[in-house]
Symmetry: D2
Subunit: 359 residues, 4 copies
């Protein structure tokens, strides 16, 4: 039961890189909600390859709704949406079946499934599975939006190039709306440096990692729970579903470890009749529960493990050392396309927390 | 349902800082397992204050088993263990009820429970709740040990002082066994610098944060799952139950974001007839599933928010700004006592993953 | 994870017949609810042996709250309540360990736990575990009462003697309130015939079964769900936790199998401005969801399997046939004391369905 | 989260009577299991209308696998299977939208979903949703079969006509294999009487109920659990997902309520070196756990509520009393087509219990 999420609405994701389709069941969005299909398609399009910086795999990613809707409105029945896999070239991967790619799940899948797993394109481990995650997340984002809650992400870092950080206190819905959907940056001037990182990696037959920062605005205070269903627990559980994520931090995160409390605590004050904090190092969460300040977290994304440079591996059938070069079609920086996945996962997690709170 | 964890064995934690007792139900450990009570008590003792560096609250923390055992052996029925709260001084906190402490859950609890929460000592949000977590974790650690799996933690960082990192490839059970239970360091020479950080904070009426690194050794390859029940998801969900954790990273974590794949991928090779990686930047997990290499993760712990320095807050009853100085009895560095909690949470999570895999 | 229940509030029951204590964790009742302790004790007292017709085991069954309360009000933290086992005589059962009692879980527990289970008094399988079920159920009953929802049970049948059935259309809160707490009958005139059934069984060293009927009044229309979380599914899952239950039926239940739809369907009509049915063969549930009519179900309770009459069994250690007479202290009709357990289980299930519906 | 089932393998069912498709996600069957597609299709065909006694709605019910397979073998990824709805005539139901049909979920769905539900053909409440249940159940039946466990059902009763009961002690796999897939009877001689019941109901524009009996053979002793995850709890939760079920009883069920323990207990004895009971009134379950004897349960199915006879209802828009005659295409006895659904639900539940036991 590895691909099911949620205390209230259950999200069940299925599909492999080269199965007939990939998809998601949502059990169940509230009845009577009008899904804005253009907005949903635009959201999903953000994870599609859109430039020379991304994989050459091109699929229209048409969403087909099998159930749960009347017209575009949810009807209280489980919603199933699928995307057909049309541009499959499984032969690209057959030569890899016996030589697990470094940094990929090939070897661990082999150990878990004893060789019975679908190896084409990573099977169920493929980044392609973030597409149904984005369908569910895109719908949750609309559900949240109807309650005045907004989400956004930017590329905080690509390789060694960094975007200027959000002033976590003052990030606004307008800031989120202004982000480029495909290459979201806080400071557009930093784009060339970031693109240069990716291009240099491509030129070297290599790839590069990054950091994605996510903000949730408008979340009322009091959402979440202590212990195992805190916002950090729930967001982490959702976000690590995305391949290649290596870490997550909330508010000032790892930086807090070096600070004194007098430097790290955020003073409470009153603004416009409501309680706020004067700084937002806590990232909008205290004790697993929202404070009403912007919820801010960051995730580290590793460099795409598939590279054309030869890498050392082992031939499973003979247990001999060999090398593998991964040709196929791959992104040189999965952080780019993972960004919308992080936003989707966050939307799913926040919606679940919100439903748990009966708000 | 915020304090319940687990796909297979359900861990349900209860209690408040000053309720009659705190405790845990484990539903259910496998029948017929002999718990080593001395070892369990020693494990739990690691989270007790043990020196001038920790809180002056002193309780014997005697474990009382209410159910689930025949002698010291599990009997297949849910195990309930409690610790009586004996050294309660709730009056310490009454003056705080109206003035939420910066960095604490006081304000968010107020918003979630509309003032009906138990405010004494943080109630259910108290770090004291890591004691039942440690009972469950200590039992899981013994269950894992019986399968050849070991866990350990060290203080990777206190404030600005760092322990030398584990060579994640060569960390051994002997390394773990050699750690000081109360101040676990890889390199004992670095202890004075770390203690100095804490003492300086105490002298300033302040506190300091830290980083805890955890290793799981002997975990066979193939444990875990893709997507939402991956090892990262499960470990994160467990670990963020500990108050004050702000981030988690696996393997080289956030560092991976700055690297090329050619620097970050770990080459596969054969050693003693089994497949290993030549480096361990992946921290023992690929695709949410164990590789058989040491599983390594780190968590950031914030400085104890309770400090005697005056801090700005708001009087809830009047919505006026005021200041608060937290006297009570507190640790100047919760990372010290949180360390065993991280080990406990990891043991619970890994046991759940292992049971899910029917190993 | 056999002893945990609930989609929203998790109920975790622990204890064995002769462990230090039995108890329950509720994670978590809504904060700020005042528990009426007299009412709760009176509810729990209904499952105590109260006459010559019941077991001679006598325990005060004092409820001790370990957590989750401030005074008598819930505080949003998990509530743990226990009952100490004081009147233990485990030696009563030692002679049974090798000779499983017919009709009991002795043999199946032996097979599941490989002899490591607590055999005293049935261990975790004991009817004594309905006491913590009744604590949780008694609290849920009060939570439901605050929303205008009432529950009650009567002994529809003891052996061959039947109580007159509730007219399911007209059963009122007053009818429920008028029931004798220890021997609840719709028609008190039928009590002698029922008592005679039990007394005759006792005289024969035997025991007798019964049917318990439960009504839930005031449940608004629209609570429940299709498929796996329907009211029938949820109520069944809760009610079969009580030892000795062999069947459950809703509305006219098994009788419906012999009827035509024209005899079985309930016509809709309008009464006092709201939609009702003119008959209530459906028992208040259609499609898993409440109609607003009285919810009515019945459960069959088998005769207490423990009887002093010699019964054939097998000596496990030698695999030889032998006989067993169960002395100890037992009820001649567990339906009497199971009745309040059924009401408790129903209260827990209905509360969960109500929370799921955000009512 | 109403349409999701399972502690280990999560079954998530989606679709409405007239949505684009209906289907199921299984997360996840064990990797490397070869599904016998002919057998699965034959299993599913058993719920198709197959004679003049059933609805005139005719659909080929082709199973389309979207994910989870390599060829016909499971690959450890979630399996999604769908059936396209081809023979839709939603206009058949439009006249019903304002006049809830007696005995149907129309009214309760209206109350739960505030009119936003899909009303065509009962939407997600339709008996058509037992088709994906049968896909999941058919696969579980094959998984069970590979472990030597067989399931079967027969029509114990149609209206007032009864099939001769299984001798629960001696029912064999051969008995199950000999059953007519479409009209399964223990005693074929009784078929004319049963068919006569249905034909008479059809002639009257009416319908008739029935009882389905299910047997599970080969289940080893020790499967199941006490309290909330007992076999009765799990089977009930699964079986009540089928529309029209009004009751369930295990072993001798409601009959036990009238018996003495000396009549109801089953004596243990030794046969061929293993422990058996000499009778099987307990139906293969004691304390929620299997005894190794045939597991036997029965469910009551109500008469199809849709009948052409005029019935009284209420026009929701005006709150006026009116009558409704249900034309459309309906079965005169849903017990016939529900039978395979009961077998499917049982297979799903037993598989879950078996996985929970790590067998």
């Amino acid at each position: 039961m590895s691909s099911t999420f949620g205390n209230r609405m259950k999200i069940s994701i299925f599909g492999q890189s080269h199965s007939a389709a990939i998809g998601v069941v949502m059990d169940t969005p509230p009845a009577g909600f009008q899904i804005n299909m253009d907005e949903l398609r635009a959201f999903l399009a953000r994870r599609s390859p859109h430039s020379a910086l991304s994989t050459a795999r091109r699929e229209p990613d048409e969403i087909e709704f099998l159930s749960g809707l009347l017209g575009n409105a949810t009807c209280g029945a489980p919603l199933c949406a699928i995307i057909r896999n049309t541009d499959c070239r499984p032969e690209d991967y057959t030569y890899l079946a016996d030589t697990p790619r470094p940094g990929h799940a090939d070897y661990t899948a082999e150990m878990k499934y004893h060789g019975m797993q679908d190896k084409s394109g990573g099977g169920h481990f493929s980044g392609r599975l973030t597409a149904p995650l984005c369908i569910a997340g895109g719908i949750c984002k609309q559900l949240l939006s109807a309650k005045g809650i907004s989400l956004g992400v930017h590329l905080a870092k690509i390789g060694k190039a960094e975007d200027s950080p959000w002033s976590s206190l003052h990030v606004s819905k307008e800031d989120l709306d202004a982000l480029d959907p495909f290459f979201p940056l806080n400071n557009e001037d930093l784009r060339p440096a970031m693109e240069a990182e990716i291009e240099a990696a491509i030129a070297d037959g290599d790839s590069v990692g990054g950091v994605i920062e996510c903000a949730v605005l408008g979340l009322p205070a009091g959402i979440g729970a202590p212990m195992f269903d805190g916002l950090e627990n729930t967001l982490s559980r959702a976000v690590f579903a995305i391949p290649g994520i290596r870490g997550i931090e909330f508010g000032n995160g790892f930086e807090a470890a070096s600070l004194r409390a007098s430097e790290n605590n955020d003073a409470f004050s009153v603004k416009d009749g409501r309680i706020v904090t004067e700084t937002n190092r806590h990232g909008g969460i205290l004790g697993g529960i929202s404070t009403g300040m912007p919820l801010i977290f960051r995730v580290a994304v590793k460099p795409t493990p598939s590279i054309s440079k030869p890498q050392q591996t082992v031939r499973l059938s003979t247990m001999e050392q060999t090398t593998v070069s991964v040709h196929g079609r791959h992104d040189a920086c999965i952080a780019l396309r993972a960004a919308v996945g992080v936003e989707a996962a966050a939307a799913i997690a926040i919606w679940d927390a919100l439903e748990d709170a009966n708000v």
